[in-house]
Symmetry: C2
Subunit: 122 residues, 2 copies
């Protein structure tokens, strides 16, 4: 339990998920758009975005609910939003003793970043 800190934020075995090309490379197919829209939708709520940012910026890229509940909503609402983020693949979770710890899924963030990276900057 106390060795949680040795987990690297960007685990080398995590391959970047090849969801979709940059949005300006070619029109997305219906299937690609379904997948990518799910990820964007998960971050399309201010409370979820704050919770995600709280986890992502927490020491070691992970946090327990006890660390990130100061976003002005009730504990059940926090749990609800964390569950949505998990379902979208943006967070993973692990129970350790009393608390559930949430971690950012770096491959998914990389995939989203790639969508917004312009194919050519000029």
């Amino acid at each position: 339990m106390s060795n949680a800190k040795v987990l690297p934020l960007l685990a080398p075995e995590v391959a970047a998920e090849p969801c979709c090309p940059p949005l300006d490379e070619r029109p997305l197919s219906a299937e690609e758009a379904e997948r990518a829209a799910k990820m964007f939708k998960a971050l399309g709520d201010p409370v979820r975005l704050r919770l995600f940012s709280a986890v992502a910026s927490h020491e070691g890229g992970e946090a327990c609910v006890c660390d990130i509940s100061d976003v002005g909503v009730s504990q059940p609402t926090v749990s609800h939003h964390l569950k949505k983020l998990k379902e979208a693949g943006l967070l993973s979770s692990e129970r350790r003793g009393t608390w559930v710890y949430y971690r950012v899924e770096p491959a998914v963030i990389a995939a989203m970043g790639q969508l917004l990276t312009r194919a050519a900057a000029a």
Copy 2:
């Protein structure tokens, strides 16, 4: 009208909108999260995402409705979604003769990309 092509995709006078820091830098404030969530929400729908991608990948980074209507929904639905993308600041539009042309707002895309760029890669 025929000089539309000389408009650069990334106009140099467009400054990157300083919305928010990368999501893993520090927890977003409520105000930052409100702004950023709006942008993510706009892309959180598969049809909107396909339309956005169709505009972004079209020649010159702009397209008229006549170019991008093959996403399997009715013309009024296309117009509705394009309006939502405009309201979120992701597209701008301009009427030229019969058609309305849509363009990607590079500063907004840059701001979204920045949110998903990891502050430190290791």
